[in-house]
Amino acid sequence: MPAAESAPPAIELRHIDKRFGTVHANRDVSMSIARGSITGIVGENGAGKSTLMSILYGFYEADSGEILVNGKPAAINSAHDALRLGIGMVHQHFVLIDPFTILENVMLGAEGGALLRRGKASAKQELERLEREYGLGVDPDAVVGTLPVGAQQRVEILKALYRGAGILILDEPTGVLTPQETDQLFRILKTLRARGSTVILITHKLREIMAVTDEVYVMRGGAVVAHRRTAKTDAGELAELMVGRKVRLEIEKGPAKPGAERLVVEDLTLHDARGVTVLDHVSFAARGGEIVGIAGVSGNGQSELLEVLAGIRAADAGRIVVDGVEITPSQPRDPARMRDLGVAHIPEDRHRLGLVVSFEATESALLGYQHDEAYAGAVLQRHGAINRHCAALMDEFDVRPRQPFLRSASFSGGNQQKLIVARELARAPKVLLVGQPTRGVDIGAIEFIHRQLVEHRDAGCAVLLVSVELDEIMALADRILVMCDGRIVGEVARSDADERVLGLMMANARGADGIAASA
């Protein structure tokens, strides 16, 4: 429900231009964001969305161009300026202090005097008012660290509202949410809009744009390439605009031809340092030639499962059999020896596990294979072979820019991931462990990575795919297992799965959100 045309837009960007060295991050970007609307900004990674929002929020200064807030030219040099103008930001990674209560988190930076008591009382009153008005459903006295992710995100929104933000920027807000939590977030955004707030939603998920926005800007290569009324476009057109060519959101693949069992897991159990059970008698098998998807809200044991299977952690009980070789807690194998068995691992956390951000691409492309005879002589490394290998991976997987000596951190998320996938697939593994292969990866790269996974399936590899993106699981998996609280709570064939069924299974046994386990 955009406001009347006569009122000045909440935010107007005029000819914003920004370069980082040779990278032209924003090219002559102009946008007009109507008051009381939800406006989406979509684009691939590196399209310039984040830079643009960082300029709007005062992290960067534009090289040229101007920003108008409520019709008046504004100089935004810091987050403080942005807040003063009523612009609030909900970051992708929350900025919350876990041991503090919601009230304490919200008050931080606006304590109201030397003694907390008075400030606390008035803050509490204000929070209650916001609660009545927007229905965020959070208890001010709850400790933030104990809350589910969705509720923590609502605390971030609350923080912005408490500071009087009438314009809210949300950066990839749904990455960590269950479908139900996502729905709840969208309800809140619509309430905000109804109360006259302006919302800017940055995302690369087109479904969300279609579900909740009034207008949408598409960015590509630093520039705005399209501006549409959401009602007058569709996901296909937007996807095409984003990548500049037709993409298939559905991956084309033939039926699976499952062969022999390559990976068998029996009663795998793991306790963390505090004694909490993170894996609870997990059993399943994956055959060569099939993709087994593991769906679940993040933090329900999937990460630990991958780590145990990759040899990073030893299980406390149970056993793993890879191609007939048994691995038990009394005879664990470290990641190097799991690789020897033909197990490759594309880890969930590419920045901390998959590569070393300060290393050159050649060095990251060697990770895990540093003692391979092809790359290490008796004493010295074979730098020639290492560099050729990296260049070959880059060619084959279209890693851009093709600069083997560039620091890994200088590649975009999608290209970093392509390099990791290339490295892990280079040896035609028998078992492929994949965690969140396309998190923070742009559409073009997603399609490419998905195709690679399917190709390796067809070549007889057993692929275990862990993802919190249901779209991804449903596009790729031949069978779907659902994990919750460290257990496998259900298995569905791909043909029987839909998002509702999976969503309810994922929320199974999670009393906190009050969702009944009805599936």
Partner: protein
């Protein structure tokens, strides 16, 4: 607005700017005590580089700084802060002394040199092993334990020198002098043999050992799979585990190498200069090594350059204290301290300025 600095500026410009700032601050202090800073600089440079004697002393000091600087750098690449160079150098000297006292009258120099080098490495590494083990497998912080081991080394050496190794019939806690056949050749006679005349100085062949150590460290860190693993652990322990590396093992190995490098100070001091075991020959080199590594960006080439700078400061400073009595040896320590302050604690002090300059020129 700022941009990240180009690599050359990061490697060269900032360290040089830090030294210039430090010298400027030192100049102000010289000015305050009523002396002419330019004259002081002239005396320092002339004293350190003006003649072959000065150069000899400068390189002799630099030898020690290169050893301890490399020691800190290797540990740093594994993500460890080795503050224990002082103690490891002390123990390295003990190892050299013990081996030479045992064999100096039995074995020829050609056999004694490798033995002494090996002993220095073993003793230094052994002294680093316990803190390394505690860090790797028991979670004790390496900074705390290596500092404590400096005190332990000091106490151990006093005990040994006073009660065990002291030469009979004398008061000062020193061992007997080594047989001249066990002395590491100094540079003066070596150069004289090929017809080059230089003044006498303590500079000896361990300078070559220092340069060899640089090449070795460079090859180890950047050209072997083990060095690759060491750097991986230093950058990201989780990525190292993912790559099948055992971080505990790497921590121990890195500290052993680091301790061995620091131990080489003993070769220079005991075999090359003092020709006997004594107390406090290690004083200050371990700690200054931290500054040398910081300033040298933990790269062997940088460590050599920074080691030379600190060698110049030590030798030129001694000369300065001699020429201008108002500038006491303590003042020289202050100047060194300023350089450590500016290139260590304030290493990034000038960075924002240069980033703005580069941003402005990039835009222009």
């Amino acid at each position: 607005m700022r941009v990240p600095l180009p690599r050359w500026a990061d490697m060269a410009l900032i360290p040089v700017a830090n030294v210039v700032l430090a010298l400027f601050a030192a100049g102000l202090i010289v000015l305050i005590i009523g002396e002419n800073p330019l004259k002081a600089v002239r005396i320092m440079v002339a004293g350190a580089l003006g003649d072959s004697e000065g150069v000899g002393y400068t390189l002799y000091y630099a030898t020690n700084y290169i050893f301890t600087g490399l020691a800190v750098a290797v540990a740093f690449h594994a993500g460890l802060f080795n503050i224990g160079g002082e103690g490891q150098a002390y123990l390295g000297g003990l190892g050299v002394g013990l081996v030479l006292l045992a064999f100096d009258r039995v074995l020829p120099l050609a056999a004694l040199i490798p033995l002494a080098v090996l002993a220095a490495a073993l003793f230094g590494a052994a002294w680093a092993f316990i803190p390394a083990y505690l860090q790797a497998y028991r979670g004790s912080h390496i900074v705390i334990t290596t500092i404590m081991f400096n005190f332990l080394a000091s106490a151990l050496m006093v005990y040994l020198m006073v009660n065990v190794l002291i030469a009979p019939h004398q008061m000062s806690p020193e061992s007997r002098e080594l047989a001249p056949g066990a002395w590491l050749p100094q540079v003066k006679p070596v150069l004289a043999a090929i017809g080059v005349t230089v003044a006498r100085s303590p500079l000896n062949l361990s300078f070559l050992l220092a340069l060899l150590a640089c090449v070795g460290v460079w090859a180890y860190l950047w050209h072997t799979p083990w060095g690759y693993e060491l750097r991986t652990v230093g950058q990201s322990e989780r990525a190292a585990v993912y790559a099948g590396v055992k971080p505990g093992r790497i921590i121990v190995v890195a500290m052993l190498v680091s301790g061995a490098l620091a131990g080489f100070v003993g070769v220079n001091e005991i075999m090359g200069v003092h020709h006997r075991l004594l107390l406090n020959f290690n004083l200050g080199y371990g700690f200054t090594g931290i500054a040398v590594a910081l300033m040298g960006r933990n790269h062997p080439v940088g460590v050599v350059l920074a080691g030379l700078l600190f060698g110049i400061l030590s030798q030129g400073g001694a000369e300065l204290a001699f020429e201008i009595p108002a500038i006491t040896p303590e003042m020289i320590v202050v100047i060194q301290g300023l350089i450590i302050l500016f290139s260590g604690a304030l290493a990034n002090f000038s960075r924002p300025f240069f980033e703005r300059v580069f941003a402005a020129t990039a835009r222009a």
